[in-house]
Symmetry: C2
Subunit: 653 residues, 2 copies
């Protein structure tokens, strides 16, 4: 049977009776299917445009929709050649790293559109404007210079005065004016975004600056590219600066991964001969790939991109800009700078026109970077009264506590467990990673879900949290993270690293050996969660507050998006608070970059945030060590900090 | 006999009785000797430190000086081995192009020191300052970024706020701070000089900008390089920004000469494939040579040069900055721009540190360039009430008329005669060029002086003026520039190009043929002088004035420096005015560049001058053509315009 998927126009030969979701998988076409094929999530809807299938009407599909051919792919078998259309809402990005899914386990996940409404008082007013102007051609009586003519026209037509001009335009100026027959489009920016940045000046006078000139009227094509430069993944969006819209999205692994998984190993590598150069080239290479992707997906001419904005942690920012991060790693951990001037994208090796400058978010300290500043901006935390914990969980966990009045921040080194590091069968959240887990409370047999619904290859960070929480709920492990060896199951057994639980037997895996979780793994997860917990508790203590004072918890970052809050509370990673106080904003870093791209005034807010944050060095804090030791328990040594969980698990109050 | 010259430590073997001036010539040591060896100018004074000479006491040498060994070299014969010291004032630059000489024929020539006093109200206040600061090293309690630490120190110690930072410094920052053990020297500039320039903003707010950072205290070494980018010659000076002093001077022919003698041929060449690139590379190559020379002569470390300032005509400025001059040549003659932002010197290919920016003087129009603006600035014309004619005589003659209230300007294409072009035996003012001329009024035999006192190779522009004036005075030619063939001399004879006068017979020349001046040559000179004269007369008319209203004539430019005013008046090139109204400022272009380098505030004045000048396109003026035709006579068709000369020559009133 030949099955053709639209709008991708991909086809695949399958046996009659084949499951349509599997057919899509084989064709390399992805469909959202978060329940693992059980047919309950109802997300994998497709439209059978031609051909015959066998499929029951799922409860979520109306009679009318069913009549016009709507089916749940996971419940559908192929009977004849098919033409299948995947509606946009059922489509996932083709990359696993770009997966999104319905939030489970409580907390509120909001869309980017909603998120932008979190921030108050911003208006759609990009820093860059395109102005179309017409001039009289020069005559002997009026043979002022080409530049004078243009500036005079901009003054007369647009009221723009005291414009400065980027030197690269001088070379093109006479030709653009004549090619356009004295009708041109000028891109003008408020200077500070494109020019030098002062570390001490917040709201300076902003003189307009001419950054680009195009023949004819191109005002309708006016774009920006925003980037989140993650240690692991880089995300990019192409934005329409006329329509306040996202035109395309793309992402890829940061090419620096091959030089080290985390920021510390990147710094180490940067000190090798040519190390800085290679690291910069690889991140630039990744961004250039994303730029190509964005152009391809959108059909937008990259010459019409007017500027770029990026946010990343302090180390990523240093490496992108070619600044040596050497002293970030050595006590007392000083970055070169926390504020960075906009840089001509081309000078970094980015494949953009000469007119494009890259604005980089300011950092706070060596381990609290522009991504956090961007997230605080994008989440509006800095504008609101409620005491908020903003948390980005990862190897380098970043924490902010505060509100519109004040903010303290800290980074805590949680170790790589959340990213699958230091875990026997740990892996990144990619194809084949166990991401969800249930246990039969009688037989103690597992129920697994992997990313991509393929045979398991390992377990990712969120999967590990879910698994350990489930272990705890089912009494498979005790509060100190040790297996209960007395349970009537062969799944729990002694292994080379101590006791272990067999998640998946060799023949069921893609790795041809038993896939296990060991007590060492659980211990590593406990260290990681204890570091995060101790981090925000210590920060709270530093300002005389406790977890109970938190009115809101904002969880940012790709990893956070996949966390099940209830389970994260169960293991003591997140504080025990009513679920409606939790807000997931996803990629907060990208969110802030979008905002400043759409709204000039937000630049000031971003810089204000960076200045208002007080950094606390946890590594120097004895309180942190105490809190850390106290948190090395599931959920916590002090049951009062997790009364609900403790009550449920141990009957304690 | 062995003669050793100091301070050069050069020696030469000569025969006993040899002339000491000739010995110096042979040793490659130059001594100012403008009278051609006649002993009357008294400039070639040397100090005989050891050995015996034969020399009369010249009238200008006191008995006391004579006793301590002072002699006129041209009057001295070598008797024994000698040790000779050349006092600074007798020394010429080793390059012929750098020659200077006592003014003859009236007019006042002033030194650079005097010249700087022509400009009112300027103070020694360079735009760039060096600040030495000390910082506390970072600690865990104070681990702000390196940049923050530096800026805070500059704020505390120097009161500098809102400093912006050149991005190139970010990369070096952590290493310079640590190399200097937290003691560094920061170079700070008032932004506008180093940053983008607005064509419409005159006196903007000037935020300080950090341009350079050096470990330790380097405040005592703070230099600038100023350049006059001439079509033919480039002059450079290394200035000490602490001492307001010239440390070294150097000059060389503009490497672009091989692509064309004048600006028009350069523009033509620029339109060939790679033409722009080659032209830019050759002028940059010349400047780099001058920079090397300046470093060598001064012993100054070029890393201690903080900035550069250059002035040149509009075409030279375009080509240096890599701007296409194409439309300067095509009616209606529009330059790309008249104001240019400072450019990183390194980006142009100049061998300077990354911190060095090149400031370029603004132009007025396609053929009235930054060199004129610089000269007007340097001469103080724009500050004074007297009606002044500022004139730079050359192939492209530039004229300014005005005072502190207003200024009109024009360029007039005089043709290459002043530079020896279009003249049968014309040549540039280099070694072997006839530069002065007298005629025996009875025999009509010539008396020549060549540059370098060598056998004549040709005649240069100033020599041609002197010769033609002398012809006129002696009745060798008539007022319409034709030879008087009736004179009893074989020097006047028919030649292939019509009548000619033999300046030098083949055996007396370095070219092995008779060196002549033809009627065609005289005609070409008349065209050139007529164009200049018609230029300033037309400009005067355009504002309702006449030559008689002129209260001062400022003659700028290398060529002008060698003109004999009286003879220039005789042929009708300069207006007939009392000689004390003439002022020679030499290289006015370099003068203005020095001023802005020494005095920040002068930048504004330079830009104000550029704006206050009204350009008149003479090529479009019917009055100019009339004036030109009327001036095609020696000195002029209308004897009333040159009453003194006419009276003397023709007995007319």
């Amino acid at each position: 049977m030949l099955v053709r998927f639209q709008p991708h126009n991909r086809e695949v030969q399958v046996a009659k009776g084949e499951n349509l979701l599997r057919a899509a998988m084989e064709a390399g076409v992805y469909i959202q299917a978060s329940c693992g094929g059980e047919g309950v999530c109802g997300k994998c809807r497709v439209l059978i445009e031609k051909g015959e299938v066998e499929s029951p009407r799922a409860p979520g599909i109306s009679e009318e929709d069913f009549q016009r051919g709507l089916r749940q792919a996971c419940q559908t078998r192929v009977i004849s050649d098919l033409e299948v259309r995947i509606p946009v809402e059922s489509e996932l990005d083709k990359r696993v790293i770009a997966r999104t899914r319905e939030r489970v386990g409580g907390g509120r996940q909001v869309s980017h559109q909603e998120l932008e409404s979190l921030v108050l008082g911003w208006c759609f007013n990009p820093a860059l404007h395109k102005h179309y102007v017409e001039m009289e051609p020069p005559t002997t009586r009026d043979n002022r210079s080409d530049l004078s003519r243009l500036l005079l026209a901009l003054k007369k037509a647009q009221g723009l005065e005291s414009i400065s001009v980027d030197f690269h335009l001088f070379k093109r100026l006479p030709f653009v004016l004549r090619e356009g027959e004295w009708r041109v489009t000028a891109t003008v920016v408020q200077t500070r975004m494109e020019s030098q940045l002062s570390e001490y000046q917040l709201r300076g006078s902003r003189r307009p600056k001419l950054t680009n000139l195009e023949p004819g009227d191109t005002t309708r094509e006016h774009y920006s590219i925003v980037l989140d430069i993650g240690t692991t993944t880089i995300w990019g969006q192409l934005l329409d600066l006329n329509k306040r819209a996202t035109v395309a999205e793309a992402s890829d692994y940061n090419g620096q991964i091959s030089y080290g998984d985390d920021v510390i190993s990147r710094i180490v590598y940067s000190q090798k001969p040519e190390g800085m150069k290679k690291l910069q080239e690889s991140v630039v290479g990744t961004i250039n790939g994303i730029i190509r992707d964005l152009a391809k997906k959108s059909g937008v001419n990259l010459d019409r991109v007017s500027h770029m904005a990026a946010s990343g942690n302090t180390i990523m920012t240093h490496l992108l800009l070619g600044l040596d991060p050497k002293y970030i790693r050595e006590a007392p951990y000083t970055p070169v700078a926390n504020f960075f001037p906009p840089v001509r994208a081309m000078d970094l090796g980015l494949t953009m026109g000469k007119h494009v400058h890259l604005y980089t978010f300011p950092s706070v300290a060596s381990y609290v970077g522009g991504d956090i500043v961007s997230g605080i901006l994008g989440s509006g935390v800095y504008q609101r009264k409620p005491l908020t914990l903003y948390i980005d969980i990862g190897t380098n966990g970043e924490i902010v506590i505060g509100n519109s009045e004040w903010m303290v921040t800290a980074a805590c080194s949680a170790g790589p467990a959340f990213e699958g590091g230091g875990i026997k069968h740990g892996m990144r959240a990619t194809l084949g990673a166990i991401e969800d887990f249930r246990i039969n409370h009688r037989t103690y047999d597992p129920m697994l879900l992997t990313i991509g619904m393929v045979k398991p290859k390992g377990i990712c960070g969120s999967g590990l949290i879910n698994t350990v929480a489930e272990f705890l709920e089912a009494g498979v492990i005790t509060a100190n993270g040790k297996f209960n060896a007395d349970l009537p199951t062969r799944r729990i057994r002694p292994g080379p690293d101590g006791m272990e639980y067999v998640l998946s037997l060799a023949e069921e895996t893609a790795i041809d050996k038993d896939l296990v979780i060991t007590e060492v793994d659980i211990d590593n997860l406990m260290r990681a969660k204890a570091a995060m917990y101790a981090g925000y508790v210590t920060l709270l203590q530093s300002v005389g507050l406790t977890v109970g004072n938190l009115e809101q918890v904002v969880i940012a970052g790709a990893f956070g998006s996949f966390i099940d809050i209830e389970r994260a509370i169960t293991i003591g990673l997140l504080p025990e608070l009513p679920l409606d106080r939790f807000l997931f904003i996803g990629n907060g870093s990208l969110l802030g970059a979008r905002l400043i791209s759409f709204c000039n005034e937000m630049l000031d807010d971003g810089e204000r945030i960076s200045r208002m944050m007080t950094n606390v060095e946890l590594s120097e804090s004895p309180e942190f060590m105490n809190n850390y030791v106290a948190a090395m328990f599931l959920p916590h040594t002090n049951a009062e900090e997790f009364p609900g969980v403790s009550q449920r698990l141990f009957g304690q109050k």
